[in-house]
Symmetry: C2
Subunit: 295 residues, 2 copies
């Protein structure tokens, strides 16, 4: 879809520009810290979460100017989680987005600090976003900190994921892990877009349902890609999930049942979109984009 | 001073109670994560930063009810920084506040996640503190995130500290390290108390000067204690700074000159307090309490 391609291109450009404004330059002391942040942040990520936040916000009538800082902040939190997940004591990964992970390129201490401070800078950016009313900023910080935290957030999901490694996980477990680890922040991105647009609560609920399906779908396609694609295409170590006996949808459900579940989630998310009385073409295209990744 | 002792006792009790309310119980899943957070958070810390925030706030007319959540949030950020600083790739410390450090008692991945999520929960707590007006909450999040972040914040200070290890540091360097690593958050605690009290800006400046002196003084006394006290008294490994060739005030300035600098800072902080047209007895007592630690 041409409109989606154009949209994603402008999102990457605008979000990267905002990130560049929000992060100290690589020549600011301590240089190594800021170089490490920028190494991981500007590694050619797809900016999926910012794109979702902006797509929801613009669909519901917000201007991009009001959306960009929050979109950048969510990407900062996502990148902090990637840097820490890749550490030797966690997933111990050397490759991410096609380049050396932060602790490999720099060192472990710097990587831990770069992740730490990306989280700090994310909340600072939202608090400092003067184009938004103070109570909107508070709503965003609450939504994002709940989704990034514990219980039922990104960090609790990562802890559950680590604890499930190396043994057989149940369907309930894998759903709990991924709705927390990946799903919560994807949903928060969508809800943030709605909050900035000042959407009424019934519409926020539909957006939430759409995003919850989308988040799980995103994870299932990620898991399927890990099995079916090669390292060079993925930009991260392929087959890593299987070799480290990670709890993934294909490992628990099998490939066929995972594909069926993806189809169900696609249909549920599409249904949620039809309850929104707006032009949801862009949100639909984003859904199809996620579906298409797994083929 | 009796009043200070009583004050510190009630602060510890009230802050611990608020922390207990803000952190998921140890039986909440994932249990190991919440146990690890509580292990480090309820390890008998002195609650110096919360005490400073509350002392400033109460001196300037705020009720304790308005101060407690922010005081607890600042302690959460302090504890996150301790957990991460103690990690093998950072200071590699086994003992803290008289007990095993988080990664020793649990494991490295859990310790990283416990620190990560303490930061998240701190910002969430402030955003969710309904007794404060939204613009006060925004002011607090900005103040604290600036002090905890980079450049010129806690994380940049820690990075500078790591980079200075094992070589001779200059006086300027040691001042930069510690005004960022320790001083910034101590100053933020004091300024937060003033923000909650709705203090006028000239008074906020005096509070800031008082706290900047106090923060450096606190670090100098910490450095002196590391040399002069034993592990059992400190509750952390004594002589660690010297053995790991840390940049400390005594190592750069010598013990005598460090004591002189402490005396100068005490006098400057006391001077700043005299510019405040309130009963500053409690803040003065807090200053004397920090001075007395080094004897």
């Amino acid at each position: 879809m041409q409109r989606l391609d154009e949209f994603l291109t402008t999102v990457c450009r605008d979000v990267d520009q905002r990130l560049d404004e929000l992060i100290p330059s690589a020549s600011t002391r301590p240089r190594r810290l800021h170089e490490a942040i920028r190494w991981s942040l500007f590694a050619g990520g797809k900016r999926f979460r910012p794109a979702l936040l902006i797509a929801v916000g613009e669909t519901l009538g917000a201007t991009r100017d009001r959306l960009l800082t929050s979109a950048a902040a969510i990407e900062m939190i996502h990148t902090y989680s990637l840097i820490h997940d890749d550490l030797p004591s966690m997933d111990d990964d050397d490759l991410r987005r096609g380049r050396a992970t932060c602790h490999v390129q720099f060192d472990e201490a710097t990587a831990i600090l770069a992740g730490d401070v990306l989280q700090t800078l994310a909340f600072k950016a939202i608090a400092d976003d003067v184009v938004l009313e103070p109570d909107v900023r508070i709503g965003l910080i609450l939504t994002i900190s709940s989704a990034a935290g514990t219980p039922v957030g990104m960090v609790s999901g990562q802890q559950l994921d680590i604890e499930a490694e190396g043994r057989d996980a149940s369907v309930d477990e894998i759903l709990a892990i991924h709705s927390q680890k990946t799903g919560a922040m994807i949903t928060a991105a969508a809800v943030s877009g709605a909050l900035i647009a000042g959407t009424k609560s019934s519409e926020v609920e539909s957006i939430q349902s759409y995003a919850q399906g989308l988040g799980l779908l995103f994870q299932i396609t990620d898991d399927l890609l890990d099995i079916t694609q090669e390292t060079a295409v993925l930009g991260k170590t392929a087959g890593k999930d299987v070799s480290s006996r990670k709890a993934t949808f294909p490992s628990v459900l099998g490939i066929e049942r995972s594909r069926e579940m993806a189809a169900e989630l696609r249909s549920e998310s599409g249904e949620a979109l039809r309850r929104i009385d707006r032009d949801t073409e862009l949100l639909n295209a984003l859904l199809e984009y996620v579906v298409a990744r797994s083929r």
